[in-house]
Every structure is written in structure tokens, then in C-alpha cells.
């Protein structure tokens, strides 16, 4: 179910901004409106919907309107036209009191430059959103402490923001955004001010937190790698308009136009695509079957290995053609012969982490989930095809 639905949301800056709306509908460009009407188009008819629990990334270069767009969502900037439906009710039409209530209860926000209150301790910063709601001190302190623990800052509650490093300050910002347990968390270039290593750590931690919290996160970034890493869905913006919305693969594999193509040109796909993107269906066999069946299966499917699993598809090893024929000669059951060990990876492993393992073995890598069940295999051809930007061949062609 979508938690946020945005329809034709537009922001024009300048005097009498409404005048530009019909012009935009007639197809005037941003430049022409600026030149002839002296009005600046911030966001032009943005429409999208966000599912609950999703990380929705809005990305674009500076000046593309992404920071304006996120501020329209909680009306830090007043929209010129359009609607924002939150569980069906229009945020744009809320009066001051309703809006305040909505901001207090339903939306948290994390800022690019942290925006921590320098006159307050870490704890009192995190408490802020609860304090303005009028929650009593012991209760709000408890909630704030829980939020601080969540971001790994237990023990720092009495420090002042300027005593912390950038990464820690942004953790405080994150804790402050989470303290009132909002449905939606707005993150405005939240990690852009951090240096690359810490940024990557924070991304990982955000994903870990997200796995347990299941918040709806709207994340702004100008960094494509970041968008691809954390986004469930990505909206790409240019000149105030949304150019393409899709999953990271959709954007990488089917760019909507030349602009998106140029944008993703330099993406290192091996750092974006994971084993789950390129894996194909493995040929499997269970131990109860005999070597004769195994050999027949190999001949039929044109493969030289079979992945041996138990009944609940837990991977036991690989049966090679040589192993099977040797067993047949000596009259052994599959249970009694040694299976080849096969390197296994988890579905979330990035391709660039697979290369070394793949180079060391002839057998396609097994992809197993966290209960050790075999869910796919990675063959070299599929990896190469994916890196070349082609769609991965369908399962069943494994070799």
C-alpha cells in the first residue's frame, strides 16, 4: 500500500507564481519562464507514490530541485500547486495546527549539515521533537536514550554537538529524526557532508536499521552510487522534473532517455549488481537418487555438475560427472561418495567481491540464503553479460 502519493506537485519561486502553472502545462521550458516571466521553476509537476517500508531515493545534480521537492513534502517550502496524500489525506490542505501535528507525529527529518542545536546536549537534541509535543521529561528522556542506543551513541548523551565528529553528529541527527517514531523519515543529503569511508558505514548502518525498523525513508542524494546502494526505488530529477522512476536495475538496464544514459555511464556495475541479480537456476539432485539418474540428468540438461541438496534444498555439495561415473562403476550410492566442495556466497554479495572466488574454481558459485538453502548459481557468462549492460539470461541455461 502506498503511504505517500504525490500528484502534479509544483513549486514556482517568485512573485505571482500561479501564473507559471498554465505556461508549464503548455510546455514552456524552465528557461523560457525564467527569461520571460522572471519566475523560477523549482519543482515541475512531480508525481510519484511511495510504498510503506521503502527507501525512496530522489537523486539529481545540484539545482535539479531535489532539495526543494523534499521540503515540499513537509511544507518547509509551501507548494504552489498539486497534492501530497499521506494515507489519503492531503498535506497541502492542512492548516497550521494540523501541519504541526503531522510534523510532530508522522515525519522525522535529517539534514545535510546535521542542523543540531549547538546550545543543547546530544540528549536534549534528540529529545527536541518530543519536547515540543509536550511529552514529560522522564518519558521523553527514555525515548531519546533508546533512539541514541539505536544509532550506537550510548554514553554520549551529555556531550555537546561540537564535541563530536561529523559522523557522530549525523548519528545524533538520525536519532533525533527517529526519536518520535515517525512513519516517514526525510533524509536531505544526510550523508553528503561525511567523508567517503564514514559515508559508506552510515549507509550500511542505515540499511541495517531499516531492516529492523521498516520505516518509509525518503532520501535525497546527488551521489548515484549512494542512490543505487540504498534505494529500493530511485527517482531521477533534472531541471525540476522527474525524468525516470524505477528500481536501481531498471534505471541501469533501461535508462529512459539520453540524460539518464549519460548519468549512469560511469557507474561501476560490479559495485551495484549483486549475486541475486545474475544468478540462474541450478540443476539439483537429492541424495536418495542413484548415480545412474544423476548421469542421465547431466546428459539431458547438458551440464557436467549437479548441485546436491537435501529435501529442504540445503546445499550439501557438488556432484561432478567423473564422481558419478566412478560411483556407478564401484556400485556406490550417492551418499557414500565424497562430493566436491563448492564456494558459496550470499545473494547480497556484490559482483566485484565474486571475481576472486570465481577465478579460483571451475564450478559455478552457489548462492545460498541465510538458512543455507540453495537459491541459485552464478555462471561466468551471466556475470559478463550483466557487466556489459545486458539483461541476465533466464534460468535454465546454466552450464
Amino acid at each position: 500500500m502506498s503511504i505517500i502519493e504525490v500528484n502534479q506537485l509544483t513549486k514556482i519561486f517568485g512573485n505571482e507564481p500561479e501564473k507559471a502553472i498554465p505556461l508549464l502545462k503548455q510546455g514552456w521550458t524552465k528557461e523560457r519562464i525564467l527569461k520571460e516571466k522572471k519566475l523560477t521553476v523549482g519543482v515541475n509537476a512531480a508525481s510519484f507514490s511511495i510504498e510503506a517500508g521503502q527507501i525512496f531515493v530522489i537523486m539529481g545534480l545540484s539545482g535539479s530541485g531535489k532539495s526543494t521537492l523534499i521540503r515540499l513534502l513537509n511544507r518547509l517550502i509551501e507548494p504552489t500547486s498539486g497534492e501530497i496524500l499521506f494515507h489519503g489525506s492531503d498535506i497541502v490542505r492542512m492548516n497550521a495546527k494540523e501541519l504541526r501535528e503531522f510534523r510532530r507525529k508522522s515525519m522525522g527529518m535529517v539534514f545535510q549539515k546535521f542542523a543540531l542545536f549547538p546550545n543543547r546536549t546530544v540528549l536534549r537534541n534528540v529529545e527536541y521533537g518530543l519536547e515540543v509535543q509536550g511529552i514529560r521529561k522522564p518519558e521523553r528522556q527514555e525515548m531519546a536514550l533508546a533512539a541514541l542506543e539505536l544509532v550506537g551513541l550510548k554514553g554520549w548523551e551529555n556531550s555537546y554537538p561540537d564535541q563530536l565528529s561529523g559522523g557522530m553528529q549525523q548519528r545524533v541527527g538520525l536519532a533525533r529524526g527517529l526519536a518520535n517514531d515517525p512513519d516517514i523519515l526525510l533524509m536531505d543529503e544526510a550523508f553528503s557532508a561525511l567523508d567517503p569511508l564514514i559515508r559508506k558505514n552510515m549507509q550500511d548502518e542505515l540499511l541495517q536499521l531499516q531492516a529492523t525498523m521498516q520505516k518509509t525513508i525518503i532520501f535525497i542524494t546527488h551521489d548515484l552510487d549512494e542512490a543505487l546502494r540504498i534505494g529500493d526505488k530511485i527517482a531521477l530529477m533534472k531541471d525540476g522534473s522527474i525524468v525516470q522512476i524505477g528500481t536501481p536495475e531498471e534505471i541501469l538496464m533501461n535508462p529512459a532517455n539520453r540524460y539518464v544514459e549519460k548519468f549512469i555511464e560511469d557507474v561501476d556495475l560490479s559495485k551495484v549488481l549483486t549475486a541475486s541479480h545474475v544468478m540462474t537456476r541450478p540443476e539439483t539432485i537429492t541424495l536418495e537418487r542413484g548415480p545412474r539418474v544423476a548421469l542421465q540428468l547431466m546428459r539431458d540438461r547438458g551440464v557436467s555438475n549437479l548441485y546436491v541438496t537435501d529435501k529442504s534444498r540445503r546445499l550439501l555439495g557438488v556432484l561432478t560427472a567423473e564422481g558419478a561415473s566412478a560411483a556407478l562403476k564401484e556400485g556406490l550410492a550417492l551418499e557414500d561418495i565424497t562430493l566436491e566442495e563448492v564456494p558459496s556466497v550470499s545473494p547480497g554479495t556484490y559482483l566485484n567481491e565474486l571475481f576472486e572466488t570465481m577465478a579460483a574454481t571451475k564450478i559455478p558459485l552457489a548462492v545460498i540464503d541465510d538458512t543455507k538453502r540453495l537459491i541459485g548459481i552464478v555462471i561466468r557468462g551471466a556475470v559478463l553479460a550483466a557487466l556489459a549492460g545486458n539483461a541476465v539470461p533466464e534460468a535454465g541455461e546454466a552450464g
Binding site: L76, R104, F117, N180
Partner: protein
């Protein structure tokens, strides 16, 4: 071509007469309030013998500025006492403190209003320019006709002269609060008042204190001028010395004013710094 002279002077006089007619009781009320405030502070400052008061003030300055400030306070105040100006210095101090206190009470809310509304700022700023650049002697006259002679018109004139820095720097301090912090306060659903008291005023405080410091200094600089309309204290001593060309007395009273000025200045500055360290 000979244009007739604009009747500004006559207009002002007519306005003065009209206001005296219309608002007489209000002016009387203000006179009583300010008069009792000055009397109260004066009484407090004279509640003990001079040496006891000097000891108390020295202890107070020690808390604010440790040995350096405390020793200056001790020596300076003993000097005033020794020269025989203690009573008049306390009279002056009570006028200055009353004027400063009232300037803060008037100036801080006005500064907040200016920070909230560009329109109000646009109206208030030129008025402040006018108040600060108009020679102070000029508004002594209406002050006297509204509040009669004595200490009250002196306090009023001091407020008019001294309140602008508090208004300006309160406005500036609030406007200088970084936009992102204001955004953050808004994003978490603060009411305008919550934003003001939890964020803007605490962050603006050092700037506001600088304005208040200026206000105190300016009201101290008005003491001699106020003495022309009957305000007592060190200002009257200086004024008398000038009219009688008594250089020595003039200097003695002048030095006493300087001691008070430095003391008040350092004390307010220390308050600012203390505040900065606490945050």
C-alpha cells in the same frame, strides 16, 4: 522662486501641547512608575554603609571575573568613596540601571518583533536611526514638559538614546540563527513561541548581550546631559564644575563616572562570556 518655510517646528510644538493635554494622566502614571523604580534601586544601593556595599560589589565581581575584575572593583570603588562621591555615584548608578532595565524590557520584545516581521523591521529601523542621531538635548525639552524636571525625564531621555542597540542586536541575533536550525525546529513541529524560546533566543543571547552592554554604556553617557534637567548624581557634579570652571572637581567626578563605566562594561561582558562557555 521663494517657497514658504515648512512649519515643522510649529507642528512639533502643537503636537507636544496636544499630547500633554490628551495623555497627561498617562505621563503622570509613567512618572510615578519610573520614579519609584529609581528610588527603589537607589535605596537598595544605599542599604548599608559604603564600605559594606563596596565589599558586596567586590564579591559579586569576583564571581564574574575573578581577581582581575574584583581588584579593579575594590580599588575603583574605594577611590570614589575616598573622593567623597559615593552617594552621588549610587544616585547615578540607580538612574543608569533603571534606564538600562527599562531599555531591555522595551528593547528585547521590539527586537523580537522586528526579527519576526520584515514590515516591522522596515518601520522600526529608520525610527531608531532618528533616535540615535538626533542630538540628545533636543528631546530633553519634550521630556521635561511631559514629565517635569527631575530624575524621570533624565531616565526617559536615556532610554530614548540607549534603547536602539538592544533592539538592533536582538533583531540581528535572531536573524543570524542559521536557517537550517530554524528549518529543523520547524520540521519537528515547533510552535513559533517554542522556536523562539528553545532555539532563537538561546542562540541569539551573546549578540543580545552585546547590545545590552552598549545600552548600559550609552545610558551612562547620558548622565551629564540629564543633569541639565535636574537629575542628580555624578552628572550634576560634572555639570556644576563645568559651569563654575572648577577643573579639579570636574575631573574627580569624571573619574568616578569612568570607574562606573568600566565596571559595568566588564561585568556585562563577563556575563556574555560565561554564557558562551555554558552552552
Amino acid at each position: 522662486m521663494n517657497l514658504p518655510k515648512l512649519p515643522i517646528g510649529r507642528g512639533i510644538e502643537a503636537l507636544e501641547a496636544w499630547m500633554e493635554d490628551q495623555f497627561g494622566p498617562i505621563f503622570d502614571f509613567i512618572r510615578i512608575i519610573i520614579g519609584s523604580l529609581v528610588d527603589f534601586i537607589h535605596m537598595a544601593l544605599n542599604s548599608g554603609p559604603s564600605l559594606l556595599m563596596i565589599a558586596l560589589l567586590t564579591v559579586l565581581t569576583w564571581f564574574l571575573g575573578k581577581w582581575k575584575l574584583a581588584s579593579f572593583a575594590l580599588i575603583g570603588l574605594l577611590l570614589i568613596d575616598n573622593l567623597g562621591y559615593w552617594d552621588n555615584a549610587m544616585e547615578t548608578l540607580s538612574i543608569v540601571l533603571s534606564a538600562s532595565l527599562l531599555s531591555i524590557v522595551i528593547g528585547v520584545p521590539l527586537g523580537i518583533l522586528c526579527a519576526r516581521s520584515g514590515l516591522i523591521q522596515g518601520i522600526v529601523t529608520p525610527v531608531l536611526d532618528f533616535m540615535q542621531t538626533m542630538p540628545a538635548f533636543v528631546y530633553l525639552l519634550p521630556a521635561v514638559s511631559f514629565f517635569s524636571l527631575g530624575v524621570v525625564p533624565g531616565v526617559i531621555a536615556s532610554i530614548i538614546f540607549a534603547v536602539p542597540p538592544t533592539i538592533r542586536l536582538t533583531n540581528l541575533g535572531i536573524r543570524q540563527v542559521p536557517g537550517e536550525l530554524v528549518e529543523a525546529a520547524d520540521a519537528f513541529g515547533s510552535t513559533p513561541n517554542q522556536k523562539l524560546f528553545k532555539l532563537q533566543l538561546p542562540i541569539a543571547l551573546p549578540t543580545m548581550m552585546a547590545g545590552i552592554n552598549q545600552t548600559i554604556m550609552l545610558s551612562l553617557s547620558m548622565v551629564v546631559i540629564s543633569s541639565m534637567i535636574g537629575a542628580q548624581g555624578l552628572g550634576a557634579d560634572v555639570y556644576r564644575a563645568v559651569t563654575q570652571t572648577k577643573t579639579g572637581t570636574g575631573f574627580e567626578a569624571g573619574i568616578s563616572i569612568v570607574v562606573l563605566a568600566i565596571l559595568l562594561d566588564r561585568m556585562t561582558q563577563k556575563m556574555v562570556n560565561k554564557n558562551k562557555r555554558q552552552r
